[in-house]
């Protein structure tokens, strides 16, 4: 566990550095693979950068709105460079809105663009697992299994490593083939959401920091199950075997 790294007099948060590296790697990968989805690599990186900027802005504004009196007392705090004053939900929401409208403005087709973003998102998932491993967050419940890791005064499930493996497997399974198959737009993204939801459904069963609903049921698992159900329903509705369809009278 290395929550910070000392660079001379500067103390930098390791998880933040890992996430930055993950974003760079993810964008590079997505740019290279974008032609396989009939999407221009440059357009893809532009949309990611626009979404990232909007995400940071949205996260800071959402954080400030939740504590408006404090920020009205000290309005300059809004421009502080600290990475701690961010609301992830507000950031994700504004990033998604900006990405959607930016994509429409640039006349990018929705489903191929989402497919082409999949390598970026899966790489980000791996980076998130590594960031959790560095910070010690997203820790597991105590276990006696031999592969448990000693963390926070107990031997625990290495849920951060499960997270990395889950995201790595998702990246491998959604890796685009060299040849594009027409009529399959959205399938890669659908598979990505289904696999990611399935991974979170399984891994959260071993997490020690979940949000608990009634009877010990974990909120994150319920959300993952709903997303998994929607993804599978959507995949089944839109992608049946074209050979089977064409054999109809």
């Amino acid at each position: 566990m290395f929550p910070t790294v000392q660079i001379g007099p500067l103390s930098a948060p390791t998880p933040g550095l890992i996430l930055l590296f993950g974003i760079w790697l993810g964008i590079t990968l997505a740019e290279r693979l974008a032609p396989r989805f009939n999407v221009a690599g440059k357009a893809l990186s532009d949309i990611v950068f626009a979404a990232l900027l909007a995400g940071i802005l949205g996260a800071r504004l959402a954080y400030a709105v939740q504590s408006l009196p404090a920020f009205l007392d000290n309005p300059l705090s809004l421009f502080s460079l600290t990475p701690n004053m961010l609301d992830p939900v507000g950031g994700l929401l504004l990033a998604a809105i900006v990405a959607f409208f930016y994509g429409r403005h640039k006349k990018l087709a929705l489903w191929p663009t989402l497919d082409a973003l999949t390598p970026f998102l899966a790489t980000l998932g791996i980076a998130l697992g590594l960031a959790h491993l560095a910070s010690g967050d997203a820790y597991g419940v105590p276990t006696t299994l031999p592969w448990g890791i000693f963390l926070w005064e107990a031997r625990r499930h290495p849920t951060q490593i499960y997270e990395i493996l889950g995201a790595g497997l998702t990246l491998a399974l959604t890796w685009p083939s060299a040849e594009t198959v027409p009529g399959r737009e959205g399938k890669t993204f659908g598979c990505f959401t289904a696999l990611t939801a399935a991974a979170h459904l399984i891994i959260h069963g071993f997490r020690g920091d979940s949000t608990i609903l009634a009877n010990g049921i974990r909120l994150e698992q319920v959300i993952a199950l709903v997303i998994l159900g929607i993804s599978l329903w959507w995949l089944g509705r839109h992608f049946s075997d074209p050979n089977e369809v064409s054999s109809q009278p």
């Binding site: 910070t4 103390s11 701690n84």
Partner: protein, 183 residues
């Protein structure tokens, strides 16, 4: 054929969802809150006893039932020096509502005179604790200065902020969350 395929897919989805629901039930968490003490969010803040600059003995357990901000600092650390006046402002504002700041000087990496001079210059009124042997820094696995931990009235660590300076508005937000009992 397409209908049959859709039917098989539907069965597959139902089976997957049933297995998923079964896993949610089988892996439900009956443990509740973490009762161990560890320097991590969601755990009890480890107890410690240190002397103040004035030689008075203070323990974290003395403030049971109060919201506590534990701040590790050193007089040579610019972001520490920058955030401590803001800490004084919020301490003045919230101390009557059951909020306390324990500013632990990492004295094993600092000097007593350096810390004392800075505190005298600024006139901080919250307790300044001297970690001369570095035992509390070690207990809290201190890796950077400043580091701030926000401990709820129940003794659980709600948030840890590595680095600084923490802007005053952010401090207020976190303290109001602590006092509001957000868990």
């Amino acid at each position: 054929m397409r209908t049959m395929l859709s039917k098989y897919w539907l069965y597959f989805v139902i089976v997957v969802l049933l297995i998923g629901a079964g896993w949610i039930w089988a892996s439900r968490d009956d443990g509740g809150a973490q009762l161990q003490a560890s320097p991590q969010e969601g755990f009890l803040a480890p107890n410690f006893t240190l002397e103040t600059l004035e030689g008075e003995t203070v323990s974290l357990s003395d403030f049971e039932g109060q919201a506590v901000m534990i701040n590790f600092w050193a007089s040579w650390c610019p972001p520490c020096r920058a955030e401590m006046p803001s800490m004084e402002n919020v301490y003045q504002k919230y101390q009557n509502q059951g909020f306390v700041i324990l500013a632990i000087n990492a004295t094993h990496q600092d000097t007593v005179s350096g810390a004392a001079n800075f505190v005298a210059e600024e006139g901080f009124s919250y307790p300044i604790l001297m970690d001369t042997k570095g035992s509390v820094s070690q207990l809290y696995q201190l890796r950077s200065l400043p580091t701030s931990l926000f401990v709820g009235k129940d003794g659980l660590i709600q948030e840890i902020v590595y680095g600084g300076p923490i802007p005053e508005a952010d401090l207020q937000t976190r303290i109001e969350n602590l006092l509001g009992g957000r868990q």
